[in-house]
Symmetry: C2
Subunit: 174 residues, 2 copies
């Protein structure tokens, strides 16, 4: 088995994603991760601290999955279209639970500025991904916006309908 720290982050990832951040308690996390409470607070100084660690882990995981998924395609256009297939792939894999980062964005208050900046950094990296692929400023923003709403709308309607429409739109744009 993994180290306590890894078990905590893995369990928290699952639970935050399934139930939301505020609806998931420390007690459930440590119980399902088979970790003592004192061990938890040895590794994380607070729940918000765990949240930041979770988001960083999620950032790494999600991006490496995306890059692996799209890099099979050779042309820019194909890679961009593949990114929208990636949403479908993740929706099916994770049950239409949307974006971890945007979900937590809805749950935090003004005081949790550290968490907000981690979320912003993640989305800035996503914007950069499209910018690097496409070069053009306005076009890459356009695709980024369609990408973002594709994730949210599939979470809302538990359906890939609008992801596929987005892909069709993007196909006509580039």
């Amino acid at each position: 088995m993994d180290t306590p720290r890894e078990r905590i982050i893995d369990t928290a990832s699952l639970l935050f994603h399934q139930q939301g951040y505020n609806s998931t308690g420390i007690n459930q996390i440590i119980s399902e991760a088979n970790v003592a409470k004192a061990s938890f607070y040895q590794h994380f100084k607070s729940k918000d601290d765990l949240c930041v660690a979770f988001l960083n882990a999620r950032h790494g995981y999600w991006f490496s999955e995306l890059i692996t998924y799209v890099s099979k395609s050779k042309s820019t256009k194909k890679r961009i279209l593949k990114a929208f297939d990636f949403i479908v792939y993740m929706n099916e894999k994770e049950g239409f639970r949307g974006c971890s980062f945007l979900n937590i964005l809805s749950e935090i208050s003004k005081e949790q500025g550290t968490i907000l900046s981690v979320i912003q950094a993640h989305k800035n990296d996503l914007r950069k991904f499209f910018e690097k692929e496409l070069g053009e400023e306005l076009l890459s923003a356009h695709i980024y916006l369609l990408f973002e709403s594709s994730i949210i709308e599939s979470q809302l309607f538990k359906s890939n309908e609008l992801v596929k429409k987005s892909k069709k739109i993007v196909n006509s744009l580039i």
Copy 2:
């Protein structure tokens, strides 16, 4: 002063919007609405029941504000562009707190199906709004998607930058 029911919904609107749904307790709502707890449970059978009532009230308010805002313009194109100005207007008015419906979407579990369907109904009405204005299926979905991400991205970055970019994009589309 208003009736207790109205005071409860008004207060809940404010607090849900500012702090989120799960972070706002019944006790705070009744205290700030100057209503007794027994009176609260005479009007709403649960917190989720209040949530539905709040979303319905918000739906009515938000749409009437949108229609008032855009109907000053005469052509379809101008009305669509005005809809994006409406986001900027609401962001400034409400402090970049995003969409009440999507915020609550991130907080609810699978068991809260009633709430989910109220959120879906709201967004379906928004889709219909664009469809009626534009006729074309794919184009109206396109604008709807840009509209949705404009709201979310401005909440995320506490800025109207991407709303304005969206407006520029939409201007070139129609």
